[in-house]
Symmetry: C2
Subunit: 196 residues, 2 copies
């Protein structure tokens, strides 16, 4: 079964190139992206919400115009293997998920999805073959409505230079930037710029 | 000046294809990635920390093996235009940033970086030409040390099915998944699966 413009084999190669390996989560994610996209009206300008940081953001980035850095992929990690594509102006969307109740015919996918075996004991080749054969049949999709103002993607707004580190940051964050109040995992904060 | 394997023009095209436009932030980000990478010892297995969610994650994803979905790009958004590449085993890294004190010779870059003008009043063509000419000269780089256990990328661990929605989630999150306790911006949570 095709995934967007790709055959399954071609998509495996594209995933290998971008993600570093033909990860089961990105491959199944490819079918999820396609299912959600086909559940939206044609031509809708959509964005994406991933419910896990693992794998799914890469499926979205490979198959849609949404990337993390262009602000059209939002990740709120609750660890559910699900994604929603939604109309960015109305919030109306389609949520695709792996339906654990449909996995009984696919022992390798089930073992991978339910983490029944450590990775070293999984049969990777057989798992990919099952993913290819199963296609969308293991997925579900439901209509959803996103509260856009809960996505937390406020505009950056005016910027200013931090009194402590000298770097530019959003003025709405207050007198000192987030880096200088310990929000970043550096052992020691650095003073960064030349005066100018 | 080249950006990885790309000429500046080719990188503009690659950014257009992936990000949707030849955004100044991704182009400058390309020089930042290269600067940080060349400040690390050859052959180090590195990961990336972006201090803003805007543009920089896409520069990293285009130029390195790190992607958001493979867990090698971490974004902690404090709105500073800086990124660090670091040795994933030791945390030793190099932090690249735009040095606001070096922008006086580059009026278009300065206006863009300091948000002195609305986007509609910026001269996009001239801005790209300045970015190409300025290359790394507007950047700074400093050695840093990352506290790896503050990156918050704990393993997913064993999974279980949520008592409320029926979906699979990390057992370490407790009795009910994050979606069902309101962490996601859906108007109404959905019950998702078939019983099985």
């Amino acid at each position: 079964m095709h995934i967007g413009k790709y055959s399954f084999e071609d998509f495996c190669e594209a995933v290998q190139r971008f993600h570093g390996s033909p990860a089961p989560g990105v491959l199944i994610g490819g079918y999820m992206v396609e299912l959600a996209r086909h559940s939206l009206p044609e031509g809708v300008l959509f964005e994406a919400l991933c419910e896990t940081r693992v794998c799914l953001p890469d499926a979205v980035q490979l198959l849609t115009p949404c990337t993390y850095g262009n602000g059209r992929v939002r990740v709120i990690h609750v660890g559910r293997f699900a994604l929603t594509l939604y109309d960015k102006t109305t919030g109306e969307g389609a949520r695709a998920f792996v339906d654990a109740g449909k996995l009984s015919a696919w022992p390798q996918i089930r073992a991978w999805f339910m983490m029944e075996k450590p990775k070293s004991e999984q049969d990777g080749k057989q798992l990919l073959a099952e993913i290819c054969d199963a296609g969308r049949s293991i997925l579900g999709v439901v209509p959803v409505m996103i509260e856009l103002d809960r996505l937390g993607l406020k505009k950056i707004g005016p910027v200013m230079r931090c009194q402590v580190c000298g770097e530019t940051y959003p003025a709405s964050d207050g007198e000192v930037c987030g880096g200088c109040i310990g929000k970043l995992p550096y052992v020691k904060e650095v003073w960064a710029g030349t005066v100018g």
